[in-house]
Symmetry: C2
């Protein structure tokens, strides 16, 4: 499946028309089937559907450890991802009836409610030691990593990094999807997340923050703005939230001790 | 309810820390209750909840005409919006079990499926006559209209305009929400949409385009990118889709005859 298509477009420049071929980000719907039950349909860029499905289940609390994941199969013809889980959560059946449409930037859905999240233990962590120069370098590298963005101008990206380098990178037309793909990829590779930085190209809503909290990621850095809800969740759960990280500036909204600037 | 909060933040500039008070966009969850049944919870900026609720119902096809809307009441203390509809769609009960998580930029939800939309009649319309200079002026005015964006840097906006002026404006932390608020506002004011331009600050996914199609808006203009799905829907339903409208340039993706550049 192509992550972009070439489409003829009329460009108007100074009132003059020219025709050219533009690269447009693809968007597909796939159905996520868990233990033979249709959980939900997801719209996303047609890449990393396995990571996306696993990341979504992790972020929503349906999946907690590697042992529970018995199998994944992606059917690219019928646009389905079949996942078999060993231990379904006790409240699995009722979860289908719970849905909250989030704002993020679209009207996101989550099966999570904030009360359930509040019972999580805040992360206990050693601060990540990093210089502001390194943060700037990471963000520069992050921005130039998205081939699909460079082609289409229409996607978001997310990365998992140490102070020194970007380890994993995902991109998607959906800001939340990019984070889910990244989290799913890290999980499937067995990569720890509790000692990494998450970089996101987009604004941080409460829902993005719940993904970060559920997966014990200690530091989240974005070039743009957080919402009040994301700040409140980050405060409660020990996440260091850095916004408007641009050039030589950044804002630390919560838990400044989570990073040690050097 | 405040649409933003002032929160103390640590700013790092050139490695030096200063403390300041930042304006952060609020995010709340409210429950949309239709005929005493909880339809869904929505996360959005705490403004125009009545418009948001009505716009959501319009965009999802639950509400089609002014007569069906018997009452709206917003309970700001309990974060609920109660709506009474006269004629529920025949498939109302089954709609609760249908959900597609969209990508947009978050993981949006829609109860609509594309097949249902396909049976809609494409808009039959007279082209909107507008000069490229006027488009530029509209977009400049549009960008400077968002007080909340200027304060927080973290919201999206949508506007309904003629060739000469912006008539209605809405803003929200959610890109889709801003469109729903705008559509709800136009509907409640009894303003026609079939002869207007919709301006959106965000990228255009299939879901945003379904909102535009359902409400018979003939022209959609954004500063950023559309997805393949939105182009395909626009093509099928006679919507003129203009993207990357910046400075003296813009791209016309579909139905160039929907506007008459002069």
């Amino acid at each position: 499946m192509n992550t972009f298509h070439e489409i003829p477009v009329i460009r108007i420049t100074d009132g003059k028309e020219t025709e050219f071929i533009d690269c447009i980000a693809s968007e597909i719907a796939f159905t996520l089937i868990v233990n033979n039950q249709n959980l939900v349909s997801l719209l996303c860029s047609p890449s990393e559907l396995d990571n996306m499905a696993v990341g979504f289940l992790l972020s929503e609390g349906f999946l907690n450890n590697r042992e529970s994941l018995k199998s994944i199969s992606v059917d690219e013809e019928n646009f389905t991802v079949n996942i078999e889980l060993d231990n379904l959560p006790e409240n699995w059946d009722t979860l289908f009836n719970k849905k909250t449409i989030t704002s993020g930037c679209g009207q996101g859905i989550t099966f999570t409610d904030a009360d359930a999240l509040r019972s999580n233990t805040p992360n206990k962590k050693n601060p990540i030691r990093i210089s502001t120069t390194k943060i700037r370098n990471l963000l520069r590298l992050f921005r130039s990593s998205s081939e699909l963005y460079l082609k289409t101008g229409g996607v978001h990206s997310a990365a998992l990094a140490t102070a020194d380098e970007i380890l994993l990178f995902s991109e998607d037309i959906g800001r939340h999807n990019a984070v889910d793909k990244l989290i799913g990829k890290a999980f499937l590779k067995g990569m720890s997340m509790h000692d990494k930085l998450l970089l996101s190209s987009g604004r941080i809503s409460g829902e993005i923050m719940t993904k970060v909290i559920r997966n014990n990621i200690p530091v989240l850095i974005t070039r743009t703005a957080p919402t009040c809800m994301s700040i409140s969740y980050a405060e409660d759960h020990g996440v260091t939230l850095i916004g408007f990280a641009r050039g030589n500036r950044m804002n630390i909204y919560t838990h400044p001790l989570g990073i040690q600037l050097c």
